[in-house]
Amino acid sequence: MSDHHHDHDHGQAPPSDIALRVKALETLLVEKGVVDAAALDAIIETYEHKVGPRNGAKVVARAWTDPAFRTRLLADATAAIAELGFGGRQGEHMVAVENTPAVHNLVVCTLCSCYPWSVLGLPPAWYKAAPYRARSVIEPRAVLAEFDVILASEVEVRVWDSTAEIRYLVIPQRPAGSERLDEAALAALVTRDSMIGTAVLPPVQL
């Protein structure tokens, strides 16, 4: 009995009427002039097509290829990231943390869903859900294992709980075999999860 565990289904399937309720509120707010329908579309367009993990990937690729940029990024991430044109909402105060053979960084927000929008876009559902929020600080290696990341025991895990307005970007380790790739090709290798710390980039197959 003690190992019995009911299967969870924490509400990723919304009630059927939520879409209707949202539509009704939007209609009222647009008709009253509280919000501009075209502005809503522009916000959605921004986070579906403009602001997302490709931004962060460019930051990472630049850090891998430009030692002076890497130094600036680790010293003042907000300013360094702004050099690439990224900043603004939920990226106002950035810190970059670098993975090395000895240290692996993992970012979480136990209290809500803080996430570096300016470089990674909107957070994935699992990042905002209770299991990841609850477990990352107490059993980070078990969490990583569920992402198929198994670290050697001598690697130190540093968990960053985003309790304030500082937002964290993980600089993953440059993958083995990527020595000849240029900055654009390197950026294409960088995944969203590797910049949260829930993935390690695999070696490049040449």
Binding site: I18, K32, V34, A39, V95, R135
Partner: protein, 214 residues
């Protein structure tokens, strides 16, 4: 508040369900809720801390059961009324009784998102703590908003970074002023937080008033 949102260290929520290449939104209503929340926020009648606290005040069973953007939607319904943007009558009928000019026109969206809302504030007080200092997170249990999680209260960590002055959520969420305080990056060992057998470390950003010398 020691709310259901303060879940760091809890067991029993089951496995994580990674999605490797999820869409940004899983349904169109989610996208509309995000956009509505940002557009209403542009009226400037609340702040990010009050917005977080509003979710913390949602019934705990609902907080856990609702899809994420439904929690945002239920908050939004409360916000538009509390902020005087919509009356209860309008909400019930769906018919506006007056009209306004949107605070965020479409041609301002890019500029507003790019500006963001910096929370850094100049402060004149000298730092109480220096890098490397041992500090203890205070034992406090305020009924209102705080960003000091339960799992570090009473625990000893090391100051690793000085982030300068930042708006204090504990007052700002309750519209009692920004009261900026110095914010520190503090490292706690897993052993200190969780006991024997715990490894690794957890870093939190904590305001000066959350800390005492250890």
């Amino acid at each position: 508040m020691n709310g259901i949102h303060d879940m760091g260290g809890m067991h029993g929520f089951g496995p994580i369900r990674p999605e490797r290449d999820p869409p940004v939104f899983h349904a169109r209503w989610e996208a509309r809720v995000l956009a509505l929340t940002l557009a209403v926020g542009a009226w400037g009648r609340s702040n990010i801390d009050a917005g977080r606290h509003a979710r913390e005040l949602q019934p705990p069973d609902k907080y856990l059961a609702w899809p994420y953007y439904q929690s945002w939607f239920e908050r939004l319904v409360g916000q538009v009324v509390e902020q005087g943007l919509v009356t209860e009558t309008e909400l019930a009928s769906g018919q506006p009784e007056t009209t306004l000019n949107p605070a965020l026109p479409a041609d301002r969206v890019a500029a507003v998102l790019e500006a963001g809302g910096p929370s850094a504030r100049p402060i004149s007080e000298a730092p109480r703590f220096g890098i490397g200092d041992r500090v203890r997170a205070q034992t406090i249990n305020p009924p209102g908003h705080t960003r000091l999680p339960r799992y570090v209260r009473g625990r000893v960590g090391i100051i690793e970074r000085d982030h300068g002055g930042q708006v204090l959520p504990d007052t700002n969420a309750h519209f009692r002023g920004e009261c900026p305080q110095r914010l520190y990056g503090v490292r706690f060992t897993g052993h200190e937080l969780w006991g024997e057998g715990a490894r690794d470390s957890v870093h939190l950003d904590l305001w000066e008033g959350y800390l005492e010398p250890a």
